[in-house]
């Protein structure tokens, strides 16, 4: 089915999120939508999917003007969407989620077997391994993503929108997803694909449209270079490698010995892990998602319960401290899942910026919030971190994904830190913001703070790390120097330590 958007305009108050956007996607085409954080990509797609109503402009499917009053209409017209932020009900099973919104029934009963069969059939077609009866909340993000895809496909969608689906996927999962997209394309679907990763764009895109500040600023060929694409998106040239001075070796600041973590089911998720991070050094923790990195960072913060071993910061144990004491020790933390763990969507930017400092000066005095100080602080930080928002009182939930992340970074990096733990710090950020965040992380290191960066992106690991610890199935396979070749790291991420690898710990 051919999709055409004509002159789509959407304003939120004073902000023009979409400004007369025209876009045509042919059947059997993968159309990439590029643009910096807050450019208006998700907004445009939400309009297409009937979640928002455009102020003006029209949506045409096969040259017929459509009037959607909700996602139900859009789904019936053959549009499927995989959302940037998943829209699944965690206490429902996969089959129930897939069925939700177009429940089939037999004699008044929900026809769950039909839904299950549907999940199995689609899974088989694309080689997914998804159990229709698993509860969503028990599934890792990568699989949840698949459920979103199954959901979109189960309604015979002819136009498919993928809004940053790869942000939470491992490289392998990403490759698989791109394979699926190609299959769908060959079956004649029109596909809109939003991503910030230029490698993916080049691999699957048939056409590229770049949006900036709500306007279409140009089209590009899939053969364009990274630098060309980046500068088109951001409007300036981007330096994709960051300048990093040599690490000045110092004392070990964070010393972790024999750390073992059990999960609630009693399984070992982190197995006897030991490492050190020196002041002024970045230790990157690499590995495929789900190999214990999440639990490791949480344990450092005091967020895990069943922990054994020692965690010493500057010679003092922080292992038994409750979270607020760990934070008070000067540990900055960027959680992996910003929406769930780092931000309060209904709170304003200013409120979120003081979330973990609600206990004392300068934000609180005599139990009262210091609003004047907070306003000034938030105004400064929004400027410094280039958070694109209508004002510091805008709720964080209405910010674009990348701008939400900047709020978290601004909060954590504006404290006096003695340790900085960042899990997936640039997830969902555009290339310009990634450059900025990387610079800030390196600056934090240069200020003499020990830094741990957990990332599943090899590019990020290689750009930042002084040393790299690779995790596999809860263990550290090895700690190697920051310039270790990719193929060696790749093998280590699969649990193998190639003979002759130089260890750096």
């Amino acid at each position: 089915m051919k999709l055409e958007l004509r002159g789509i305009t959407k304003t939120f108050g004073a902000l023009v999120a979409n400004d007369h956007i025209d876009l045509t996607v042919q059947p059997g085409e993968i159309h990439c939508l590029l643009g910096e954080n807050g450019a208006g990509k998700s907004t445009l797609m939400n309009i297409l999917y009937g979640l928002y109503r455009a102020d003006s402009g029209e949506i045409l499917l096969d040259d017929v003007v459509q009037h959607f009053s909700g996602p139900g209409d859009a789904a019936r017209a053959g549009i499927g969407m995989v959302h940037q932020h998943f829209m699944l009900i965690p206490v429902f099973t996969v089959a129930e989620n897939v069925m939700l919104g177009h429940e089939e029934s037999k004699f008044g009963f929900l026809d769950l077997p039909a839904a299950r069969a549907r999940v199995r059939e689609i899974s088989a077609r694309f080689g997914f391994d998804v159990d229709p009866d698993a509860l969503i909340e028990d599934l890792p993000v990568g699989v949840q993503q698949r459920v979103e895809i199954i959901k979109a496909l189960s309604r015979e969608a002819k136009v498919l929108v993928f809004d940053e689906p790869t942000a939470v996927l491992t490289p392998q999962e990403t490759d698989e997803l791109m394979g699926i997209m190609k299959q769908l394309k060959d079956a004649g679907a029109a596909i809109v694909f939003i991503t910030h990763k230029l490698r993916e764009v080049r691999e699957v895109a048939d056409k590229i449209t770049v949006i900036r500040l709500g306007k279409v600023v140009g089209e590009a060929k899939p053969t364009a270079t990274n630098a060309e694409l980046a500068s088109l998106m951001v409007g300036r040239s981007i330096d994709l490698t960051i300048a990093k001075s040599k690490v000045k070796a110092k004392e070990p600041a964070l010393v972790v010995e024999g750390l073992t973590i059990h999960n609630a089911q009693g399984h070992v998720v982190v197995n006897n892990v030991s490492f050190q991070v020196r002041a002024g050094e970045i230790l990157a923790v690499a590995g495929v998602q789900g190999n214990g990195q999440t639990e490791l960072t949480e344990a450092l913060l005091g967020l895990q319960d069943r922990v054994m071993g020692t965690i010493d910061l500057d010679g003092k144990s922080i292992r038994h401290l409750p979270i607020h004491k760990v934070l008070a020790e000067g540990v900055g933390f960027i959680p992996e899942d910003r929406q769930e763990d780092a931000l309060i969507a209904e709170f304003s930017i200013a409120e979120n910026l003081m979330l973990d400092r609600a206990d004392g000066e300068p934000f609180v005095r005599h139990g009262a919030l210091q609003l004047a100080y907070r306003t000034k602080f938030a105004t400064d930080k929004v400027k410094e971190f280039d958070v694109r928002a209508q004002g510091i009182d805008e709720v964080v939930g209405s910010l674009s994904g990348g701008n939400q992340q900047k709020v978290v970074l601004a909060r954590e990096l504006s404290r006096t830190l003695r340790l900085f733990v960042a899990a997936q710090p640039t997830r969902g950020l555009d290339v310009g913001s990634i450059e900025f965040v990387h610079e800030r992380i390196v600056a934090t290191r240069d200020a003499g703070v020990p830094v741990i960066v957990v990332s599943t992106e090899l590019d990020e690991v290689l750009a930042l790390a002084d040393r790299i610890a690779v995790m596999y199935e809860g263990r550290i396979v090895g700690i190697v120097s920051g310039d270790t070749p990719r193929d060696v790291l790749g093998l280590m991420m699969a649990g193998e330590l190639p003979a002759g690898t130089k260890l750096a710990a």
């Binding site: 939120f12 939400n46 979640l51 928002y52 109503r53 909700g70 996602p71 959302h83 932020h85 998943f86 829209m87 699944l88 009900i89 965690p90 206490v91 909340e137 913060l301 967020l303 409750p322 979270i323 607020h324 760990v326 934070l327 008070a328 933390f333 959680p335 929406q339 769930e340 763990d341 780092a342 931000l343 309060i344 969507a345 209904e346 709170f347 409120e351 003081m354 979330l355 973990d356 609600a358 206990d359 934000f363 609180v364 139990g367 009262a368 919030l369 609003l371 709720v395 939930g397 209405s398």
Partner: protein, 434 residues
């Protein structure tokens, strides 16, 4: 989309019913489930609904009330018998009955323009403020809970315990005027706070759901008070019924405008409580943490906010506020001795008041006054127009119904669906609410 989740009403209402100790528990009803995530989502929707929707919900409720009034009116029924012959009669009778009822409410609740002088006429609104006082106090308590993600439906129990504590100090202790009142008030607040503390403590320590705990504590409080009213502790020896003795005048809230008006010092205190809540939720560090916990407990925890401690604080503050309603009942409303019905349903009406006020302190204040007016007015309505006062709970319930179902109100008034500004926030909530 999560924005269109079904309303909470059924759950909330069943819970409310079950929580009422006077409701027959053996009626075969299943035990209440802790509010499902979607209930929380829908509740949040209700709290965040726009002012317009709130006003329209009240309006719809008044229309429903009007239909009820008209259809039960005997004149209307008679006229309807020959409707085809003279439809005008029916319409006139309907108009008469409805206008009469609502005018009576206005006269009884706001200003009685038939009174001989201004002084008598104005007594209506002052009377309403008296009814509003405990509703506001309890409504604030419930609202603080809502904002913190805690469903306190144990208002009845807290009111009973607070009333008993304050009432006992009021009749059994002898102290100088003023001091006696202060001590009695404090005793009541401590009682309410303690009763609520039990809930917070159990939730924090054992993870027990506050809805279930508060429901059970309602029963415990009711039977405890019942027992004490039948024992020498609370019972007035000179009475045959299980009623307490009269409060001593030294403990009773003094009248603000002289003995001819019922308005008393309790109203000043409740204004103070509203200001306190406004400060607490909007300006204090503690309130900031409460709201953080209410909106996203996971993020609050990661930010170093101690969830369990917050649950206890929230419950205690909620209990103290709700407890003030009980204090007011014995020291301001019924000072001639109390019985087991002293809570007068305030514990539940307060939930409606909190919802109607969208859990904002001044919203609750306004909602409480509206309900006070309706309550005071409904007595006049019954006396003058013969309309059963039970129209009132119907109106109140319809308000809740429509508050909890904004899409319904929008559909009735053909309001445009506002852009789901919160769409992301809500969808995220659907995922968060594990």
């Amino acid at each position: 989309m999560s924005a269109e989740l079904p309303a909470t009403v059924p759950i909330a209402e069943t819970a409310t019913k079950l929580a009422d100790p006077k409701f027959d528990l053996t009626g075969g009803e299943a035990p209440p489930e802790p509010p499902a995530p979607r209930a929380i989502v829908a509740l949040r929707e209700a709290l965040n609904g726009s002012v317009v929707l709130t006003i329209l919900a009240v309006f719809v409720a008044l229309v429903v009330g009007a239909i009820l009034i008209a259809s039960t009116n005997t004149d209307v029924q008679t006229a309807a018998g020959y409707f085809l012959a003279r439809p005008g009669d029916t319409l006139a009778a309907i108009w008469q009955s409805v206008a009469g009822a609502y005018i009576a409410i206005f006269r009884g609740g706001v200003y009685d323009f038939t009174a001989s002088n201004f002084g008598t006429g104005i007594a209506s609104i002052l009377n309403s403020l008296g009814f509003a006082t405990p509703l506001i106090a309890a409504g604030l308590g419930i609202a603080v809970g809502f904002r913190s993600g805690v469903f306190n439906i144990g208002g009845t129990g807290m009111i009973l315990v607070a009333a008993a504590c304050a009432g006992w100090v009021g009749f059994a202790v002898s102290l100088p005027p003023g001091i006696h009142m202060i001590v009695a008030v404090l005793a009541g607040l401590v009682g309410g706070g303690f009763w609520a503390f039990l809930v917070g403590f159990l939730k924090a320590r054992t993870g027990a759901h506050e809805v279930i705990v508060t429901i059970m504590l309602n029963y415990i409080a009711l039977y405890l008070i019942d027992y004490l009213l039948n024992s020498p502790v609370l019972r007035d020896p000179s009475s045959n019924a299980p009623v307490s003795p009269s409060e001593k005048p030294t403990a009773v809230f003094f009248h603000l405008l002289g003995p001819s008006y019922s308005l008393n010092f309790g109203f000043i205190l409740v204004i103070g409580a509203t200001i306190f809540c406004w400060w607490l939720l909007g300006r204090s560090s503690l309130g900031f943490k409460f709201r953080a916990v209410g909106e996203n407990p996971r993020a609050a925890r990661v930010a170093g906010i101690h969830l369990n401690r917050m649950y206890i604080y929230v419950m205690v503050i909620s209990g103290v506020l709700v407890g003030f309603a009980g204090v007011y009942q014995v020291l301001g409303q019924i000072t001639t001795g109390f019985d087991r019905g002293i809570d007068a349903g305030i514990g539940f009406t307060a939930i409606t008041v909190a919802l109607l006020g969208r859990s904002r302190p001044w919203g609750v204040f306004a909602a409480g006054i509206l309900f006070g007016i309706l309550q005071a007015g409904s007595y006049t309505m019954q006396a003058d127009q013969g309309v059963n006062v039970n129209v009132l709970p119907v109106i109140q319930s319809v308000i809740v119904l429509f508050l909890a179902a904004p899409p319904l109100v929008r559909a009735i008034f053909r309001l445009p669906d506002p852009d789901r500004r919160r769409a992301r926030a809500m969808s995220k909530k659907a995922v968060v609410a594990k």
